[in-house]
Symmetry: D2
Subunit: 334 residues, 4 copies
């Protein structure tokens, strides 16, 4: 029973069906009929005109977004536990040509306007010795499964705009955030100042396609070249577009995230005081002795040791009810 | 009837079946059971111990290969019509951190030992003003559908080794070359001095997976980091591995290439003196007036205008016999 | 008697005096009084408002200029024997983050509008597979000592502007060109469409300072950061500014170039039919057998073997008259 | 009376004399007689065979050193207030092609073995998601004027070697550290595990030359290309070499640093309890109200406001005794 990562989960049936249906001759790269539908589909979803590009990983989406917002001699503010800082082997530096991530602390990998403002204050505007800030990047839901509300995003957006920064959201688990908030995706993004969104599908039931959304379509122009230059312009792009369109249709993306969040909620109820953070998406960080963790593993549960005394559990869209119930019971029984 | 590009062709059934079969929980990235089989499968195929990494495009494979062979202050020799020079939007420069492609001419996008030797002679060894050559890259089959024989590769390999260069083969159409030659894949690669091979599957019936083969497995070590850093370490890598393994099994890759080459052969017979180059793979370059080209298009044939008076035809693994026959007849009737 | 390179020549007395005079406390980097005078001095010289930055080498000036004009996924057209292509160990690629130099041929390292137009025609506008051209770079005087006239520059400038390209002039020997033409420096640059000029001083009697001139001062903004980031923002920048100001004052830069060109003229007269190119600046390319070259060397003349049967002679601002006379006589006597 | 920065100070007479003496024809770049003496001069100084390259700024020296030790997908540990992190506009990222600086805290910008060990423990060895550490960089004297002893360096060197890291010392104020310690330069560097040293001369009385020392001469090979590629291979390199040789001769570098440190010592005695850090080199950080700072400025003293309630004073090699006495008295009188 795997609670290790939503990355390892299966692909949802709608996506598999769409891939099979896309298997016919069409124009290569992103000249096919499906790829051409992306801009419209996301413009409808967000209620504004956007440019949407498929890429095959969240790391590619994040890095292309940052490269659109920051030049190589500039810097990007993010949380010191952000995925772009910790887990992407320097992809932001690679794609931007060496921009620096300026780190800001905060509980649960969440940034606050005050913390960002304070960090910005340490950089002298116009001083050529300092990499001038050009972008702010947040993750929603965060790496600890916390969710920024539209108001919280908007407050950060104001800080960003006041300093002239672009604003990026790493939405590897954007669906989980939207489901938790029950909000309009537009309220959580462009109406709150977001310029570029890495809209994750793979963790949420996709196979190999993420969407990179630019709320200012102009920002996508150079990105199309950078995507090619990075080897991310797939020959048979229709299969990437097909995955995304399948998950947008009938709100499959929300259904899947609801399932994952729901499972997490049930485990959270069982874990009670053991929780390190509130559970707002599909991840749980649970205090546990090494013996307790070993006991769970002996019962067949697979998960990640986060830090001494803390394990991480991630629920996927496809987690069987029985597994969730079993894990909840096992934790309650510790 | 599309003779535009093998990129646009469908995915072969074995690959689709393998993707469906891979749809179950497994370890993320390349920790799954299928990805772990790649080194062995390619080591068996080539008759030597190799490291094999999946990536999602030929551009990524080529660029990662070059980054393993050349540092940012060095240079790579290639044909002046090579895909890496013309069609990848600077991916080699991006991945190597700015290495320069040194261009060499040659009929049909083929390099000769003499031409490479002459180009190398223009670079003063040890002169810090000159980007010292570090690698030689050839495409087999070439961008014009010509094939290097094992002896021809080996002759270039000797030139490369004599100057201490790494030797890369862009094998986007490697299968087509092997089928044409009827040779052992090892004879066309490592036994002829090749260090890294971009082994193409997408043009030959795959969906989104190419294999990057290092004949010296040590070369793969840093590449694993560079692949992650480029956003090419897919979360659900098992689907990439599944595609490749399916095409290796029962020699599907050879069967598909045989079909494509065979179709090209039939068109070539019809085109006769119109051919600009010998037809050794699945591409044809055919002399044709604008009126003749228009006439073919009016009959429903879709293709690429290569240069004034020359069209390009590409046959795919799935080209229906009837389409091939029809095109052959139409050309003969011009 | 060294006719090897103007790089090796001494520093002219005005520069040495200015360096000595600058040796007092002042603000670091480019905050000193002398550095602040550069914009004005060059604006006066060119008759338009410019931004002028000192850097310590022509390679740095060229590369910073190109980085201001081309993004990493774009390309720069230049002659295939341009210094930026051949002799800078990939500095343009380094500073631009991997932009590609697209090469154009032409006699004497000179580009013509037709040749540039033809090269541009090979790049499909808006095709993401092709690095879109963003800049044109010429060298004046060229690497073969030929000079572009204001009209010739303007004709290239028109081609550049028509395609939306920035236009850079590598003026390592700009002084020699201006002296040859007897023209207004503004006519040879911004009035002919030049956006950025590497204005060389070191070969012409300076010690370690070149000027990078932006005719659109806005272009300098990001360059100030890139200069720092490249380690070219010197702590004691006043010594760089002092050199440049000393050479502008009383037209020392023209006097020095006149001396070098004049020496070349005298050797040219002696060389007659041996000349490979017209002599328009301070370089000569002279046909000569290996025996003849050896004979000159035996008489104490030092120079560079350019290619089989051709030697290169470079005259410096400080070449003693006697040496010039001796070399002329020696060549005439061969 | 400027206590703002040692960067702004004059050049010492020996250097000016050496520059004047170098003003004669010699081979360009680093082929001249003076440049060729550098390896030997520094090998003598350090008591081991080294490779020594001149560059024109500390930023260039630091970045070239890091590029020799870390690849673009790797990381470099340094203090979170290190010059390479704060004040070089991303030069390390530029030169390494995007390596990441991993930050470590510590009083007075000093690292301890424990802090470094703890930071290293957060990076999973061999995990491709994490930029693997490749180098450790310290500044001696630190950005707060503290000095690492040979034993302290050696203890860090052991940590570095145990993890396979290269070890770099930013010695912008190396002279001040050596003078403070009265130690053998070899004991403070290679015998303590240092692989590359940025040996500063400009802050200590030089004009525009720093030395980059590789204690493993092999490390210099690629650096020679990178120096050219960065535009730091000066045409008339003899003037850079001359500066350095002049400061090594008769221990001018030690004499100058002794003067600067001595001045700082005198101010420190006057400042007493106001000192934020011990004064071990030529910098002082002094607690002071805004009114007190204004009073000093009104008396003609120029300095830098470091942080609320703290000013920074830097003594140069040429600080007049009277200025030092006056400042000491003024502080004592506050």
């Amino acid at each position: 029973m795997r609670f290790f990562s939503d990355n390892a989960a299966p692909v949802c049936p709608e996506v598999m069906t769409a891939i099979a249906a896309a298997n016919q001759v069409d124009t290569a790269y992103d000249g096919d009929a499906l790829s051409k539908r992306l801009d419209g589909a996301f413009s409808d979803l967000f209620g504004t005109s956007v440019a949407a590009l498929w890429v095959s990983s969240g790391t590619a989406a994040n890095s292309l977004a940052l490269a659109a917002l920051a030049q190589s001699h500039q810097s990007v503010l993010c949380h010191d536990e952000a995925h772009i800082q910790i887990d992407e082997c320097g992809a932001p530096e690679f794609y931007t040509g060496g921009a620096k991530l300026l780190l800001v602390g905060g509980e649960g990998a969440k940034l606050t306007p005050d913390a960002v403002t304070a960090r910005l204050a340490t950089i002298r505007t116009g001083d050529v010795h300092h990499m001038q800030p050009a972008a702010l990047s947040i993750t929603n839901a965060t790496e600890y499964g916390l969710v920024y509300t539209p108001d919280q995003v908007a407050a950060l957006g104001e800080v960003a705009k006041a300093r002239g920064l672009g604003f990026h959201m790493d939405g590897a688990r954007f669906a989980n955030a939207v489901v938790n908030l029950g909000c309009d995706p537009g309220d959580l993004t462009w109406r709150a100042g977001i310029d570029a969104l890495s809209f994750g599908f793979v963790k949420n039931g996709g196979l190999s396609a993420e969407a990179l959304i630019f709320f200012d379509p102009e920002l996508a122009a150079a990105t199309r070249y950078r995507r090619k230059r990075a080897g991310h312009l797939l020959s048979k792009g229709r299969f990437a577009a097909a995955q995304i369109l399948a998950m947008l249709e009938d709100d499959v993306w929300l259904r899947n995230a609801r399932a994952a969040n729901g499972g997490a909620r049930r485990i959270a109820d069982a874990a009670g005081d053991r929780l390190v953070h509130p559970v707002e998406a599909n991840e749980l960080f649970v205090r546990m002795t090494a013996d307790e963790a070993a006991s769970l593993r002996a019962q067949g549960f697979d998960f990640y040791d986060w830090s001494p005394g803390v394990i991480r559990l991630v629920l996927s869209w496809s987690q069987p009810d029985a597994e969730v119930a079993a894990l909840g019971a096992a934790i309650a029984a510790l």
